[in-house]
């Protein structure tokens, strides 16, 4: 019991000592909390998106076959699909028609896709929930409603008016926000795509273990193709925010580093008053170890306070506030931007990592500069 009581005593004194340096501690604590808030927000955001990507894209086609022309993606002849369908293990082959359409008035780029369900009634489109349009230059982009007419400019400059038959649900924003689904006829009117060609082919394969074999066979049959498996799609999204991914790790590491430096300077620069206090404590019988324990508790107390508050605020920010603060970073030059109403997902392991990555350096940085003051001779207060 003695050891526990001793720690409690030291914590008592540490907290009262912190209370006497309120201003400095509050400013430092605020910065600390903000740092945690930022890092935890990034963590929550990327975890949630990765999870949604993983769950949604499990329904992506098992294999997508593109054709490369002069090293770039070109259109693929539909007849390639015949020989591919004959490969053992391939359940079905379907051509996909999709591309990008830039609307000069709203300055937005949409992804246009052919949806076979619209083929019976050309002239109608289904749009994604974020699709906005501007009727005239200078006006505001406005939300499109059902039965609205959406004007397009075809490849040869003529106008094509299509009626909005449906809007995809808001909840599908993440995967379908910028989609405009059209009939095949309208697609070919819009873009001058050869009737015998498609953008790519999607395959349904029963046994995913055979994907590599099938891919090899496809390339053997048609050396100018490039198959992309579902596995590769999933790994792409697993890795999008990966810590190896440039900006994110540099920013996070930079923030952390800057904070440690700040802490070193502010938290641990012992004022004359603090040094005197340590001298008195040593004189009345506290050992060096006790002083260092005091500094340890100081670091830990501030850390725990900041961590709890930072994480809580981060959670609110990302899952209630739709990660508002990240919009400028993520939006870039896009005009269409999803509303990020993400389903929360918290990886306890990553949270624990964040805890140790911040608490430990901060505590160490609180203790180390105090070393010299902690080891002063007990009689130093008498000598001054």
């Amino acid at each position: 019991m003695g050891a526990f009581e001793k720690q409690r005593n030291i914590v008592d004194f540490t907290l009262s000592s912190l209370g006497r340096r309120k201003g400095k501690i509050i400013s430092l604590g605020t910065v600390y909390t903000f740092v945690i808030f930022l890092l935890a927000s990034v963590l929550f955001f990327t975890q949630a998106i990765k999870r949604e990507a993983a769950l949604l894209l499990q329904e992506a086609p098992e294999m997508t076959v593109q054709r490369l022309e002069a090293g770039r993606q070109g259109s693929i002849p539909k007849h390639y699909g015949d020989s591919i369908a004959a490969i053992r293990g391939v359940q079905s082959v379907r051509p996909r028609l999709w591309g990008y359409y830039y609307d000069s008035l709203s300055e937005a780029t949409f992804t246009i896709m052919v949806n076979d369900e619209l083929n019976e009634k050309p002239g109608e489109i289904i749009i994604g929930s974020a699709v906005k349009v501007r009727s005239a230059a200078g006006a505001e982009n406005r939300v499109v409603r059902i039965n609205d007419t959406f004007p397009f400019k075809t490849y040869d400059g003529s106008a094509l008016l299509l009626k909005v038959k449906g809007i995809l649900p808001l909840t599908s924003e993440l995967e379908a926000a910028d989609l405009i689904l059209v009939s095949e006829k309208d697609y070919r009117t819009l873009f001058a795509v050869n009737n015998d060609h498609a953008t790519d082919l999607v395959l349904r394969v029963r046994n995913t273990k055979e994907l590599t074999t099938i891919a090899t066979k496809i390339v053997q049959l048609h050396p100018d193709t490039r198959p992309v498996s579902r596995e590769e799609i999933l790994r792409t999204y697993e890795a999008i925010f990966d810590w190896r991914g440039g900006l994110i790790i540099v920013t996070m590491a930079g923030v952390l580093f800057a904070f440690i430096i700040l802490a070193w300077d502010k938290a641990t620069g012992l004022s004359a008053e603090e040094k005197r206090e340590i001298g008195v404590l040593k004189a009345i019988g506290w050992e060096t170890a006790d002083i260092l324990l005091m500094k340890f508790w100081e670091g830990v107390s501030v850390s725990i306070l900041a961590f709890i508050l930072g994480v809580f605020l981060a959670y609110l920010h990302v899952f209630v506030g739709s990660a508002l603060l990240f919009e400028p970073v993520l939006k870039g030059w896009s005009v269409l931007y999803p509303d990020f109403r993400l389903t929360p997902h918290v990886d306890a392991y990553q949270l624990a990592t964040l805890f140790f990555l911040t608490v430990i350096p901060y505590t160490v940085v609180t203790i180390i500069p105090s070393w010299r003051s902690a080891t002063i001779d007990p009689d130093s207060v008498m000598r001054t």
Partner: protein, 228 residues
């Protein structure tokens, strides 16, 4: 109680500002007596006091506490012994501002991890002894000079030490408070404590209650006079 053998203390040894504070000191402090170290400033009184009180280590020589050699004990053990055996009253009082009188009194006992309620009771009893019970939760800054003095003494007593060490205790006190201080020391002596005071105040060394004066000059003991 405490015995010093051939004690020598040098500061900044080997450097340009090397300074011999005390040298060739042989001294025995008897228990249950009031011993006063007398001498002008620079005579080494304070250094002597800190060595006697196990707050500083001598550069050379040996110290015995209750016939047990403590010269080369590691810091951990020495600090523990010092906490249990000595109670210090500093010239500047060195109370910690911003916390209560009660907490100041309890501070020296914190590292021992004693049960809080027991410690608090002992501290409160001490404050009551000095008529300060009503000021227990008051912050130090709000106390008068005399009250702070008494809190400092109470703090020195919290671990029930055998020896009280006081460095120029009356330097900032008026005559009345100085006499009060000496009375408290007399009371403590009656209770069996050993008292060590460093002072150049005549009120202290002309007081009838002290048992011995040790004269110091230029870092040496001049004549360990015994007053009967």
């Amino acid at each position: 109680m405490i015995r010093l053998q051939d004690i020598r203390k040098v500061f900044n040894a080997g450097k340009a500002n090397e300074f011999v504070a005390i040298d060739q000191v042989n001294l025995a402090i008897d228990s249950e007596m009031i011993t006063v170290l007398k001498g002008p400033s620079g005579s080494g009184k304070t250094t002597m006091l800190s060595i006697l009180g196990c707050m500083a280590r001598p550069t050379a020589g040996r110290i015995m506490l209750r016939e047990r050699e403590i010269t080369s004990l590691p810091e951990r053990f020495l600090t523990g012994i010092r906490r249990a055996t000595f109670g210090f009253i500093f010239q500047q009082l060195n109370l910690i501002k911003g916390i209560s009188a009660l907490e100041n009194v309890m501070l020296p006992a914190y590292p021992d991890g004693e049960k809080r309620s027991l410690l608090q009771k002992r501290a409160t009893d001490l404050l009551t002894l000095f008529n300060l019970a009503h000021k227990a939760s008051a912050k130090i800054e709000w106390l008068s000079g005399g009250e702070m003095q008494r809190v400092a003494i109470a703090r020195a007593l919290i671990n029930s030490p055998a020896v009280i060490v006081a460095d120029e205790p009356t330097a900032h006190l008026d005559t009345k408070l100085s006499m009060e201080f000496m009375e408290i020391m007399q009371q403590l002596k009656r209770e069996g404590k050993t008292i060590l005071i460093a002072s150049h105040d005549p009120i202290v060394h002309e007081s009838s209650i002290i048992d011995r004066i040790v004269d110091m000059r230029d870092g040496r003991v001049v004549s360990p006079e015994i007053r009967s």
